[in-house]
């Protein structure tokens, strides 16, 4: 997975991973709706990665995405991309959680001003 040049700290990278995962989810659902409804809006299609646009346009027949094409997309395009992002997301979570400098900077008295919401 590649980060933009201005995303440098682990915290920024973690946030970027979450954002990338969300963009990926939305792209997944564009293709899912295409398969489900048999039609895709050209503006929605343009939001997909270029490689996906090409391969799916080639795979579709009369504008319809077959079950085979949908499963092919899921297994060989979406799942691969999702694990790329999630693998990095997991690594960034670990990195942020174990950020010793950040841990040392926490003032518990100032931090624990409210009770945790979760029971």
């Amino acid at each position: 997975m590649n980060y933009p040049t201005d995303v440098k700290t682990n915290a920024d990278r973690l946030a970027f991973c979450y954002a990338a995962q969300e963009r990926l989810r939305l792209a997944h659902n564009v293709v899912g709706a295409w398969y489900r409804e048999g039609i895709v809006d050209s503006k929605a299609l343009a939001t997909l990665p270029t490689a996906w646009q090409k391969s799916l346009s080639t795979a579709s027949k009369d504008g319809v995405l077959s079950e085979t094409a949908w499963k092919e997309f899921k297994a060989n395009a979406y799942d691969v991309a999702e694990k790329d992002v999630i693998g990095e997301l997991g690594a960034m979570k670990e990195a942020v959680m174990k950020d010793a400098a950040l841990v040392a900077s926490v003032d518990l008295d100032k931090t624990l001003s409210t009770a945790t919401a979760e029971k």
Binding site: Q21, R25, H28, N29, G32, A33, Y35, R36, W70, E82, K83, I86, G87, L89, G90, A91, K93, E94, A117, E118, K119
Partner: protein, 419 residues
């Protein structure tokens, strides 16, 4: 791939909180009461990568009780009692599980957990709704991260095309599991009540390939009720179907559906066959030619109840020996068919009979040429009736070479007499 049948799972539910159907569970849950519906497989059954699917919904019971409502999990617990993920964690055990959770503000959470030696790692989605089905796809991919990653994809539709969120936990140990949970309590976590429905767990396990060196015996197929699916064995080499053994009275016959040409195997009978086999056919059939190598010691009897037509006897070449003739043994009255000869018949047909027979009258329509010969040879007088002259005529003829007369066989044959 097939849905798990929950009725084959072990149910530990002393308080009767779970209603178990074949593919559905209805849970009147309470975190104060222990219960679980789970299945213990062989040690290490859940190893490597896997992907399980299941659907879940939390019903609105008009109270937010912060209940934990687990609906999938794996562990290595084998105790024959109700299991609880909370107790596994408190005992510093290991497990993976997914649970719904009643959050504040009427939010329904879905939370994914790895418990490794009692330490908890989690991810969650907290924007779910009551009375809404969520279709989950839980995957472990050991190639992502040092020990693998556990994912839970949450979809809002059954065809799993509309993705709501993907939860992920980077795993902290590589561990194989043996016990899968269809549902479990979160005992003991106060009296938090909830109403939950779970359905269609599919472990998506492909058939296991066993390598065998000797002969194998497939178990008998037992079906109670009506079978809606047939089983297909995929074989890449030659297969020999086992002999069909039926003890007692068979109430059903087996139908093989074939789309191509089939060859029925030769019927081999050792000893005395006590039963005959009947093929029920609905279309036209063609019986194969009967081929006998060597000396046939027995005749074959077809029992028929309807009309039959025996095929014409065709002989190619010259029939050389008497042993080549066919004997039909009949016990009732038979009517021999009329003998029809087209063209010039060069041979006559003889019937050999051992019992008394009555030959039918010989009727000849039209003009027949007959030859008369005398055993003694020489010359003879004769008298014959002439239909043309309407009178008898007499004469004498040399019969060394035979005498050829034209006789109207509508008259009696005895009216041509040698005098």
């Amino acid at each position: 791939m097939a849905l798990e049948n929950y009725t084959t799972y072990s149910e530990y539910d002393a308080s009767g909180l779970v209603t178990v159907g074949a593919n559905t569970l209805a849970v009147a849950g309470n975190n104060k009461i222990a219960f679980s519906v789970h299945k213990v497989f062989a040690a290490g059954h859940f190893s490597g990568d896997f992907e399980h699917v299941v659907a879940v919904a939390l019903n609105d019971d008009s109270s937010i009780s912060y209940a934990w409502c687990p609906f999938w999990g794996l562990s290595n617990e084998t105790a024959e009692s109700a299991h609880s993920f909370k107790q596994i964690k408190e005992a510093s055990g290991d497990c993976l599980y997914v649970t719904q959770y009643e959050g504040s503000d009427s939010d329904v959470w879905i939370r994914l957990f790895e418990i490794s030696t009692g330490t908890e790692y989690t991810d969650f989605y907290k924007y779910g709704s009551y009375d809404t089905w969520y279709y989950c796809e839980i995957e472990r991919d050991e190639s992502v991260g040092t020990y693998g990653t556990l994912l839970c994809r949450i979809y809002s539709d059954e065809s799993r095309t509309s993705l709501v969120d993907t939860l992920s936990v980077t795993l902290h140990e590589k561990e194989d599991f043996s016990t899968v949970y269809a549902v479990s309590s979160y005992y003991n976590n106060d009296g938090r009540t909830y109403s939950q429905e779970i359905k269609n767990l599919d472990l998506q396990e492909a058939g296991t390939t066993h390598t065998v060196t000797g002969a194998i015996t497939l178990p008998a197929l037992e079906v109670s009720g009506t079978a809606s699916k047939r089983h297909v064995y995929e074989a890449t080499g030659a297969v020999t179907l086992p002999a069909l053994e039926v003890s007692g009275q068979a109430s059903k016959k087996h139908v093989y559906e074939a789309t191509g040409a089939i060859t029925l195997p030769a019927l081999e009978v050792s000893g005395e066959a006590a039963k005959k086999h009947i093929y029920n056919v609905t279309g036209a059939i063609e019986l194969p030619a009967l081929e006998v190598a060597g000396e046939a010691a027995r005749s074959h009897t077809w029992e028929v109840t309807g009309d039959i037509t025996l095929p014409a006897l065709e002989v190619a070449g010259e029939a050389q020996s008497a042993s080549g003739k066919v004997t039909h043994e009949v016990t009732g009255a038979i009517v021999l068919p009329a003998l029809e000869v087209s063209g010039e018949a060069t041979r006559f047909h003889s019937w050999e009979v051992k019992g008394a027979v009555t030959l039918p009258a010989l009727e000849v329509d039209g003009q027949a040429e007959i030859a008369i010969s005398l055993a003694g040879g020489g010359e003879t007088d004769f008298q014959v009736y002439s239909s043309e002259d309407e009178d008898y005529v007499t004469g004498m003829a040399l019969v060394d070479g035979g005498l050829l007369l034209n006789v109207d066989w509508k008259q009696r044959a005895t009216e041509a007499e040698c005098l």
